[in-house]
């Protein structure tokens, strides 16, 4: 749906810079049909880039509408019902159509085979299928808009979701199908890492982004089916009154919460682990240093992936859980913070004695570190059950998860977009404009969510349409921040759009990275590498000449 527009102007008669008589790159050749039916992981990645960007745009517009509504204590631009439908759709679109798929399907698809020295992923047809299943799932989800919207929140909590008169079932089916796409990607990536590594590429020579994709894929394969089944049961409860969750029919709503969070808490790590992988790559390149500890970063990804399965109970502290269970889930949740802190300290130590430069991706690294550390520490706070009782279902929690999950994923996504832009399209973005956009995004983000921490602590519940007048100044600040954030995103869109159309051509490895994906041309030819790659060094060997 978006692919053709991305093969924008590229003058053929332009003089070749560094690769004379290079074979045609993957962006050229064939018409629309060859894009739509492609099995080339790079083209599929570019199509996913278009599709997930549209999702981000849609979710962002909904967020802005919500913030405008909250400018005044009473009604501003929409009814309470429309407000409920808007925040539901904002959450659903952002979580299931952008944050979960974005980095794996765009950057994972494009880079994983290149980083492994492979020709493609293990199952190219399955890869293309996952794209269409994604589109199908998105389409089914969005039919709820035509059907009058859905208003149960992205968490589908029973009994409201089984009794709400809105189009809950459409969204449940849509998310189920999106989950299928996610499982397909996960299986493909795990098998690719196991079987497609080129000669000399041992596990401990894998770029850290590959490790993070591997951990993510494990979670996708094992957790997504549980969510899929839970949502089907919600839909069945609505359609056939099967009464598994609906208390009016003798069902147990708490059971739903357990099943939902068994997936949806690990889903947070589906979102953040690939982001951590991006950050690991970026910090090494722009400090021209190997990671302070390769193994610490690689294994802590797996640690997060595994412990992430054992923390779901911390969403249920006030829903009816024994003190003992609460304590166990609280402590297990804090283990995730230990693994995350290992990463944060390792990234920081990587800067030491490095030759740090401040290109746009590196700016995003610093924004990521701030948001992730802040969001992580508030995460430990809400994992403490006594504190959580105060903050539960308030804007404090909203601000917390936006900081860590959205802040972390979005900054890493933008870092990746800029860092690998030359790899994807063979062109450079304008550093000055990208810097301005990056600072704007960060300022806007912080200004949006810091007031929400304060609002939550002062007692403003999440998802409320109206609020007492004394909360207004903080809400106005937050809306102002959201506007700045939107301006920053828009600027990024314009700046990258311009670079795509008219940015200067790039050399093969503009950042001087040692990672393997830069060993192929930029943009890569369809077959990735002209000759089979033999790896004789690590991906961060900055002490060796390139």
């Amino acid at each position: 749906m978006t692919a053709p527009s991305l093969t924008l102007p590229r003058t053929v008669e332009e003089p070749p810079l560094l690769a004379p008589a290079a074979p045609a790159d993957y962006l050229h050749g064939g018409g629309v049909r060859s894009w739509l039916l492609t099995r080339d992981h790079k083209r599929i990645a570019v199509m996913f880039l278009g599709a997930t960007s549209l999702s981000l745009l849609l979710g962002g517009i909904l967020a802005l509408l919500l913030r405008v509504e909250l400018l005044t204590p009473g009604p501003t631009i929409m009814s309470a019902g429309a407000y409920n439908r808007s925040f539901t759709m904002h959450g659903i679109v952002m979580v299931f159509m952008f944050m979960i798929p974005a980095i794996p399907t765009v950057f994972g698809n494009f880079l994983l085979p290149l980083m492994l020295g492979a020709r493609d992923v293990a199952f190219p047809r399955l890869n293309l299928a996952s794209f269409y299943v994604y589109l199908l799932g998105s389409a089914i989800t969005l039919t709820s808009l035509v059907a009058g919207g859905a208003d149960m929140g992205w968490t589908f909590y029973v009994p409201y979701s089984t009794t709400s008169p809105s189009a809950v079932a459409n969204v449940a089916f849509g998310v189920f199908v999106l989950g299928l796409s996610s499982v397909m990607t996960g299986i493909n990536f795990i098998v690719t890492v196991h079987t497609m590594r080129t000669a000399g590429l041992s596990w401990h020579r894998l770029p850290l982004f590959v490790w993070s994709l591997y951990g993510t894929s494990i979670i996708q394969v094992l957790a997504t089916p549980v969510l899929g089944m839970s949502l089907l049961l919600v839909a069945a409860d609505r359609l056939f009154g099967i009464g598994i969750f609906d208390p009016a029919l003798g069902g147990d709503p708490l059971l739903f919460q357990h099943l939902f969070w068994f997936y949806s808490h690990p889903a947070v790590y589906i979102m953040i682990l690939p982001a951590m992988g991006v950050i690991s790559e970026v910090v090494c390149v722009y400090s021209r240093n190997p990671p302070a500890s390769y193994r610490a970063i690689a294994y802590s990804s797996l640690g997060i992936a595994l412990v992430g399965f054992l923390t779901w109970g911390h969403h249920l502290f006030v829903a009816g859980m024994s003190l003992f269970d609460g304590a166990v889930f609280g402590v297990l949740s804090m283990f995730v913070a230990v693994f995350s802190a290992i990463k944060v300290f390792t990234w920081t130590a990587t800067l030491r004695r490095g030759s740090v430069s401040f290109e746009t991706p590196m700016l995003y690294f610093f924004w990521f570190m701030f948001l992730f550390a802040f969001g992580g520490m508030t995460g430990v706070a809400v994992a403490t059950s006594s504190l959580d009782i105060h903050w539960h279902d308030t804007y404090f929690v909203v601000a917390h998860f936006h900081f860590i999950m959205v802040g972390g994923t979005l900054t890493a996504y933008l870092a990746a977009l800029h860092y690998w832009f030359p790899k994807f399209f063979g062109r450079r973005y304008n550093e000055r404009w990208a810097t301005i956009a990056s600072v704007t995004v960060f300022v806007g983000f912080v200004l949006t969510f810091v007031p929400q921490f304060l609002l939550g602590n002062a007692g403003m519940p999440r998802r409320y349409y109206a609020y007492p007048p004394e909360f207004q100044w903080l809400n106005v600040l937050s809306t102002g921040g959201a506007s700045i954030l939107a301006a920053g995103m828009l600027l990024t869109l314009v700046e990258l759009g311009y670079a795509l159309a008219a940015g200067p051509r790039t050399e093969r490895n503009p950042w001087g990275s040692r990672s393997y994906e830069w060993l192929s041309a930029s943009p890569p030819p369809t077959e990735n590498f002209e000759n089979e790659l033999v790896i004789a060094r690590g991906p961060y060997d900055y002490h060796l000449p390139e």
């Binding site: 190219p124 598994i244 357990h258």
Partner: protein
């Protein structure tokens, strides 16, 4: 035929690993239902005991034998394919599919008996002898689990039918019959899931 893989062995390894991962995700799909079952059983223990004793052990156990035997046939078919007896493999797969059909027929008979006594899922349940919420929940889960399993049986039969047909037509050789191996692997999963459903729905009382 290896596509972008470096060797046939690599391709087979990748396909097997992919299938195993898919099976793992299938186990988790059923896992959600097993979790719901456990939750409800803790809540309505006594009702579950009474309700499950209403299911016919004879039909359930016969179906277990039917499926296990079918899995044996499928395994023998793989053995035949590996040693180059493709026709024999195809015939064994045909037998496997017939066993699958027998399983579904028995299941259908059982559903029919339930429907006659008013045992329907969810709010349509009106079985006078067991009017409890717990019995209702048990039979709802019974329908959900067996229907999902039945869908998997049907899918497996289709897959085995396709590869069996191709084996009969000479589409495979002793070295190259990957789809056959993978379909049989899937069939074994269908069988194994039933081995867990059988005690949960028929024996545990």
């Amino acid at each position: 035929m290896e596509g972008h893989f470096e060797s046939v062995e690599r391709k087979a390894e990748a396909a097997h690993l992919g299938m195993w991962l898919f099976l793992a995700s299938e186990v988790l799909l059923f896992g959600a239902l097993f979790a719901v079952y456990s939750g409800c059983r803790v809540e309505f223990g006594a009702d579950f005991v009474v309700a499950s004793s209403h299911n016919s052990i004879a039909i359930g156990t016969t179906n277990t034998f039917v499926l296990v035997t079918s899995s044996l046939c499928a395994a023998l078919a793989v053995h035949g394919a590996r040693s180059g007896h493709l026709r024999r493999a195809a015939a064994l797969l045909g037998v496997t599919v017939l066993f699958g059909l027998a399983f579904l027929v028995l299941k259908g008979v059982e559903y029919g008996e339930h429907f006659q006594s008013g045992i329907f899922p969810g709010s349509h349940y009106h079985y006078a002898e067991l009017p409890t919420h717990g019995a209702n929940a048990f039979f709802t889960l019974y329908y959900l689990m067996t229907a999902l399993h039945g869908l998997h049986v049907t899918g497996g039969m289709l897959a085995l039918g396709v590869v069996g047909h191709r084996a009969w037509r000479g589409g495979y050789s002793a070295e190259r019959h990957l789809p056959l191996e993978l379909s049989v692997l899937y069939w074994h999963l269908v069988d194994v899931i039933w081995l867990f459903l059988w005690p949960l729905l028929y024996l545990m009382h």
